[in-house]
Amino acid sequence: MLFKRLLATAAKSVQGPVLQDVVIIGGGPAGLSLLAALKSSSITRNLKCTLVEGSSLEGIREFADSPPEEYTNRVVSLTPKSVEFMQSKIGNWEFMNQDRIKFYNNIIAYDSQDRTSRIVFDGSAIEAGFLAVMAENVNIQSSLLQRISQLKEEGVDSTILDNTKVLSIGSALKEAEAASESTNIMSENVATASDWPIVNLSDGSSIQTRLLVGADGFNSPVRKYAGIQSRGWAYDRFGVVATVKLQYEDYRSIGWQRFLTTGPLAILPLTEDNATIVWSSTPELSEILIACDEQIFPELVNAAMTLDEVSLNFIYAKLKKNPNDFSVLDDIPWRQSRLKVNDLEENYPLPVTEVVPGSRARFPLKLSHADTYTSARIALVGDAAHTVHPLAGQGLNMGQGDVQALVEAIEKGVTRGMDIGSTLVLEPYTSNQWPGNHVLMGVCDKLHKIFSTDWYPIVFLRGFGMKNLNMLDFVKDMMIKNISGR
């Protein structure tokens, strides 16, 4: 009996929480980047790190050896700053599938309400020589996993637990506080209890960690555990994404964006005749875009890139009644025929000829920003900290900026012999990263609002603004440098 009990207690003590320095919740690009960056830095590589991801990463691991034939629909644009971070600090860039990324140099943004107002951004003004790179999310994640494996082979160890859900987060201190509150007696335990978060996992294990990082998306459980408020609003808009084929490869490598009153529509070039589209649209329109026939969708994109809003509304109304109304296939070319051929060729994107089957998807657009990115033993990165309107393609880049700033803060903390979960170490991350993100989010939000109206005075003013801005190269260069992170 006694022997049995001894065994039981021994087993129990073995099962106590595993101690780690950093636990990252979330295996998206932000979480994986943070793990790879911490392990790549000579200062922080000795920290014990674990990443926990709820879903399986098997599909991403397979991407390295057998990527799918067609582009996946989750494509992001990376700024030169993000690329440099991946090249020089994380070291995952060399593992990117280079056949599936596309550099581009120009962005042309134009207004559906005013044919003459357009603005051309030229990336050759900046040092990097390119404005952005289009890459699939899965390509980035795959390269990060490969980098982490490479580091392991070099003896720099880390743990990734995928298919593992976070059941609950707590800490001994919170329990002691709750206990002393309910009994109304100031417990001795409050002074001695550890405030290290304990993460309980679906595989039955638990991890106690010095620093808990939430890279766990918009509904971040880590943010909720920390009691950090996130503020913002839904746009009543959906982002519709799809992979499409152009008439032929566009050698101009231009990203096109047309501001429609329903939201901006962007066509961004990929390799060969591939392109990806992001179409911010009203809930009603987004349903049409998802439901309509695969033959109609490409023509609809062409129409939205070229026709006036009156024509578009006529076509949308037809499709609303019947998403498979093939008569629009005659309508659209006829309406486009009123545009001059030269004009169409020079000032508009190449026509889309087909959509990759099954690549259409939609997601609700919202703006949200956490009040702070840090509290004691907590840091938030990526979508857990902020979500932004996709019209400037900044979401993932802001996450990369977060990772870079957080790693710098942790490096400094380690050099100074600090407890890296202390707010003294983490606060500089918030103060360096939060204000810039906030401004960027504000700009995206205002752009969305200015362009989602057809009220003439605003249309006139924005047209006036765009035309003048287009002539002021130095202002544009400044904007490009800001957007590209230089």
């Binding site: 000795n46 001695t192 050099t415 100074r416 012999g417 600090m418 003294l424």
Partner: protein
Amino acid sequence: MNILKGAIAGYGPRKNVVLGLVRLASTSSSGASSSSVKDTAITEDEMSHFNALASSWWDVDGPQRILHKMNLLRMDFIHTTIREHLQLNEPNTPVEDEIYVPAYGLELLPKPIRNRIISEQENKRDEILGKSKLKALDVGCGGGILTESLARLSFIHSVKGIDLSSDVLQAAKVHQLKDPQLTKLQYELKAIEDLPSNQQYDIITMFEMLEHVTYPAKVLEEALSRVKVGGWVFISTINRDFVSWFTTILMGEHLLNIVPVGTHTLDKYINQTEIKDWIESDSDRSEKYKVVRAEGCIYLPAYGWKFTENPNVGNYFMAIQRKK
């Protein structure tokens, strides 16, 4: 105006109190007192002041926040000083294996060459520090803010923290238990002169401490005698001038309430030059020890601590190295 009375009363020398240099010089006559009261002891009312602070010592948003912030600068000072003064080349290294240390300023060189020299030197420094196992002693460790930081550095082998306030030491020990990484750290309720004189250290730190003791020269002497050749004594204290009174007592304690009232006494501040002169004043001492670095620092409320260019005004840090 009541609030200012305390502050103003503290300005200007009081009668019958020995000031900085004199206090430094008065060590020899203090021998008699050492039997009853420790030379390194702080006065009784200061002791009760620090005892009262023990419970909130580790609250980084509490009354000691400014000290926690200062610790960041202290660690930068210690780390960069040690790093910059590492001997990159052993005496008998063959020339072809030597790390190149130009005899002139690096900024004269073209950028790529400069960067290569710097990165070569930095790698060598990492390598030396990677192999180092330094022993450190933190005198007047208080709640262990600096002591813990030292114990987390990879190139530190062990740290001993000593203090004369049992309450703050208790706070230090309770806090140490919260971090399983702090295994190289040990606290003792002891005065420096009670440590065996044959215990030698690579690093001895006395931060924000000399201005609280009665006989600072005696404490300094005890510290210097316990440092190994090539080792370091790091100190920080406050110049005895108007700026210090204005920042540390009037603004810090009485107007902005950044530091608890009663933390400082202007009479006990020691000028940077007084310490330098004190080392120079004795030929044996000046031969063995050298003030290698001294930096002024200032607290900017919205920013934190920052180095200034002038160590003769306000707070300052000092690094003394034992040469022989």
